[in-house]
């Protein structure tokens, strides 16, 4: 479980995160959503320690990350896997070398054991026969899958994904979402995903945190979000007619009632 307590972060005079508190549930897919500039990436970077917050605490299973010394922080970081928006694969290394890198750095296993583990995770992300390829030879979706394989190769307790669907077609996005969801359940990882993708929101969002201009605007699950009365949230998520229809379909699916009936008796 990751607890955020009163996180604040400013760049110069501009506050980007304003007193955000939330709890990322263990073994679940936790989504941070919000429009561009709402502070979700900064919040995620504060969570993984790439930015130090101006105020507040990030607590990993009872340990306040920013009050730990360097070695203790390193220990927590070894339990973190992260999938970056641009994949962040090492250009000069092959797929196999990229995935084996954390194993080479942090384990003393034999080459054969490390190779076996790397192949296992590459299989898990449905990427076979790409071991000898370089990142430049891969498609966007393949790069994300390699990055995901690298992120989970050390069996992390926490997985962070920064906009995993950006730049991908809808079908590949769904594949990545499904992988993230399956891996979260399979390895019992606490997963935190930054996303704009409405499909991800509905499909994998066990817990959703909606950010607006650096504030926590709403939190709940993907079941609750369709009944939310928060205007900003509704405006953000159900912006198009198509999405409004989809919302009503989902309401019908969840309650067995037509949306008009629900509107008369709004859910809490």
């Amino acid at each position: 479980m990751i607890e955020l307590k009163n996180i604040q972060k400013s760049f110069g005079d501009k506050p980007v995160i304003k007193d955000v508190s939330a709890t990322m549930q263990a073994g679940q897919c936790n989504l941070i959503i919000g429009s561009s500039g709402s502070g979700k990436t900064v919040l995620m970077k504060c969570m993984v320690g790439l930015f130090e917050p101006d105020g507040g605490q990030v607590i990993y299973d009872g340990k306040d990350f920013f009050s730990l010394n360097l070695d203790e922080k390193k220990e927590i970081r070894k339990e973190i896997g992260m999938l970056f928006q641009g994949s962040a694969l090492f250009d000069s290394q092959t797929v196999q070398q990229n995935v084996m890198f954390p194993l080479d750095m942090f384990t003393n296993d034999s080459h054969a054991t490390k190779l076996k583990r790397a192949n296992e995770v590459l299989d898990r992300v449905n990427l076979k026969d790409a071991n000898k390829k370089f990142p430049a030879e891969l498609s966007g979706g393949m790069k994300k899958r390699v990055a995901l394989a690298r992120a989970i190769v050390l069996n992390p307790k926490y997985l962070f994904c920064d906009e995993p669907n950006s730049g991908l077609d809808p079908l590949t996005s769904m594949v990545i979402d499904k992988l993230i969801q399956e891996i979260t359940k399979e390895y019992n990882i606490t997963t935190v995903v930054n996303t704009h993708d409405m499909n991800s929101l509905m499909e994998i969002g066990d817990y959703i945190l909606y950010m607006h201009q650096g504030n926590k605007e709403w939190e709940g699950s993907n079941k609750e979000i369709i009944f939310s009365k928060n205007e900003r949230l509704n405006e953000f998520i159900f912006a198009s007619e198509f999405l409004k229809d989809a919302k009503e379909m989902r309401m019908l699916e969840e309650t067995g009632k037509l949306p008009d009936e629900i509107r008369e008796k709004p859910a809490e």
């Binding site: 320690g49 390193k74 970081r77 070894k78 973190i80 928006q85 962040a88 694969l89 250009d91 942090f106």
Partner: protein
């Protein structure tokens, strides 16, 4: 930047591998250009020295002495290092800059790796080790290039040149050149590493920081050259 570099490695083998990789990049990777410029510098020095020595009273061996001393004292360490500042400096700055912009450095940080120690320290240590070796090669090739040009142009015979090389040779000059090359090597690797590691923005900024790194390195090389000459000669 330097404070963060001195930390216990997460895995000595991986750091060693990175160090060897940098030795190969900096040392072997620059050998071609060092060979070319050294041979030509020596050759041109011989021809120009002969051109200016018009007095028949001066022995021909003096040409070899002048070429030897200018190559050892100045051309091999300074000129080669200015070229290396461009070759190695831009490579280091753009490599680290690209890693910063494409979040590869963040990815290493999140894995719990000390990126300054893993990415910068091996480059500086490899540079400080390999560049003086390149300078020794440059001195040798420069002097040999001078002999080659002198003989080919009929300025002096090989024997005369060799005799000139031994006349009034001071081992201290080689020590001075090596002392300079250690300082220059540190500048060539650390300044671009700083500009590359702390780059912000995108592709345009990587290019700018590379250029700036090379320019600053060259200026610092010239300043260090003057200071070391004033102090050690």
């Amino acid at each position: 930047m330097f404070r963060g570099m001195f930390a216990r490695p997460e895995n000595g083998k991986m750091y060693w591998k990175e160090f060897m990789h940098q030795c190969n990049d900096i040392g072997i990777g620059s050998l071609g250009i060092v060979t070319i410029i050294s041979v030509f510098i020596g050759a041109v020095s011989t021809i120009q020295t002969a051109y200016q020595l018009v007095s028949p009273l001066l022995p021909k061996t003096i040409i070899a002495q002048i070429v030897r001393d200018t190559v050892i004292l100045e051309f091999a360490p300074t000129l080669t290092c200015i070229v290396l500042a461009g070759v190695i400096g831009s490579k280091i700055a753009s490599e680290l800059g690209n890693m910063r912009v494409s979040e590869q450095i963040d990815a290493l940080e999140i894995m719990g790796i000390n990126t300054k120690a893993y990415l910068i320290a091996p480059k500086i240590v490899a540079g400080v080790l390999m560049i003086p070796l390149l300078i020794i090669i440059s001195m040798t090739l420069g002097i040999w290039g001078g002999r080659l040009a002198g003989v080919a142009a009929g300025i002096l015979s090989g024997e005369t040149y060799d005799r000139g090389l031994l006349d009034g040779f001071k081992a201290y000059n080689v020590f001075f050149a090596l002392a300079k090359s250690f300082v220059f090597a540190f500048i060539i690797c650390s300044i671009p590493a700083f500009y590359g590691y702390y780059v912000k923005g995108g592709a345009l900024e990587i290019g700018r920081s590379s250029t700036k790194a090379v320019v600053v390195s060259c200026v610092l090389l010239l300043i260090a050259d003057y200071v070391l000459s004033a102090l050690l000669l």
